[in-house]
Amino acid sequence: MNLDAQSLDTLCARAQAGDGRAEADLFSALRVRFLQLAKRRVRTDHIEDVVQDALKIVCDRYRERKQGVGILVWSLTVLRNVIGNYYQGRETERRHMDFVAEYPRTAASDEDPLQTALTADSIRLLQAAIRELAERFPRCGRIFHHLLAGLAGGGASQEVSTGTLAAMQKENPGLTRGGFYTALHRCRAHLRAIWDRRQGEPNHV
């Protein structure tokens, strides 16, 4: 690993503090990931437009990002919105404008991805998924409960994961940090499966 390398969140924090080099590195790194994802979902000649649109929104809004929300997760939500709009545009084009070959520009530039995600429906859907997770996989429920309560209390990352690990070690004294991450990963997979099913579209864009 390059010793000078920095995580995306560190680059983002430096960029927010006015470091132009960090900002360039951040957008370069995001661009690589956006391209990777877009090329699986968008027509080849539209990939650049979609990625540019998403990066423009990220560029316009990343300084307003809520503290504690990771830049990659946040920016991938932007990309999802742009690709979602792309598909909507394509559908409209197919139905009404067959003669127009151009990719319709997205109307997403003013959207805050957090606001888009925070609709009452999406909150309710995730709440229902969490509740089902806790019911079907009680241990997963306890893990998520400790983690989310810790995050809600404003705990730092290490503090929250260590606190949750300590709580889970009361049930299973032999649980290591590695074992805890594996457990969390499996619980997340259960939650993802429930969330997907409740959305009714397992392979959404």
Binding site: M1, A5, S7, L8, R33, Q36, L37, R40, K66, G68, V69, G70, L72, V73, W74, T77, L114, Q115, A117, L118, A120, I123, L126, Q127, A128, A129, I130, R131, A134, E135, P138, C140, R142, I143, F144, H145, H146, L147, L148, A149, L151, A152, S157, Q158, V160, S161, A167, G179, F180, Y181, T182, L184, H185, R186, C187, R188, L191, A193, W195, H204
Partner: protein, 262 residues
């Protein structure tokens, strides 16, 4: 799916959830991001689950209580599954202790509680006359105390009513006095009015997941007040934003958001 959670050896992909929730330290995060460059599967996973991860990290307080294990009765669980209604939430002692610890740890410097609007939610006596089943009778009893301003009593009885209604097959009843969702909503409001905002969050969170907009939106409004009263303006703001387009609470939510922003 069985619940096996900690036997497999750790692989880089196992850090996925910890990364999404922001639990990794600087070096671990960097290492996982390096892994993302070579693991299209993990990158796809982060992308696919991004809206949910974003919600969990942006508003963890809205989901924490729901993840606490429930202790419903067997008949209650069966009735809930059959009726498609939500489960009774009886928090484990450890969850209650964690909530209490969080309350103690929350800094009290800004007086966000001054912004909270805690007024009784109206209720018509006409609606409670038909309580025939045990849950319905409890509901009617609770609402009588609520309208009489005996909020501590009302909260306790209404929470019992919610559980009783979920344990009863009410499909055959000709008239129903209230629903579990309404019972939880009014229990939460009662706890707020009794000066117990922390305790109000549990029933209000449960009521906020109700499929009926009047119940869910009412619960969201009072949940926002509970957050303000416990100095959690961020969480209050998140809930209020979800209410901004509500026909009943929209204007009040937007006005309160303005005051919060100032």
């Amino acid at each position: 799916m069985s619940e096996r959670t900690d036997e497999k050896p750790l692989s880089p992909c196992d850090l996925l959830a910890a990364y999404e929730l922001g639990l990794l330290d600087g070096q671990e995060r960097l290492r996982f991001e390096g892994h993302l460059e070579t693991c299209p599967h993990c990158l796809e996973e982060v992308y696919a689950f991004a809206p949910a991860s974003l919600l969990l990290t942006a508003a963890p307080g809205r989901f924490a209580a729901l993840a606490a294990p429930a202790k419903p009765s067997v008949s209650g669980r069966l009735a809930a599954v059959l009726a498609g209604i939500f489960q009774p939430r009886v928090f484990a002692p450890v969850a209650a202790a964690a909530a209490l610890a969080l309350l103690v740890l929350i800094p009290s410097a800004p007086r966000w509680s001054d912004l909270a609007v805690v007024e009784p939610l109206s209720w018509s006596h006409v609606q409670v006359r038909a309580g025939g089943d045990p849950g319905g009778r409890l509901f009617a009893d609770g609402m009588e105390r609520y309208t009489a301003g005996r909020y501590d009593d009302a909260a306790e009885i209404l929470q019992q009513a919610a559980r009783a209604m979920e344990d009863t097959d009410r499909g055959s009843l000709p008239l129903q006095a209230g629903t579990p969702g309404q019972a939880r909503l009014y229990a939460g409001v009662s706890l707020l009015l009794a000066g117990r905002p922390q305790a109000a969050k549990g029933p209000l969170l449960a009521a906020a997941a109700n499929p009926l907009p009047p119940v869910a939106q009412g619960a969201d409004w009072y949940l926002a007040q509970a957050y303000l009263l416990t100095d959690r303006p961020d969480s209050a703001g998140m809930v209020l934003k979800g209410l901004a387009e509500s026909p009943v609470y929209g204007s009040r939510a937007r006005a309160l958001l303005d005051r919060l922003a100032r």
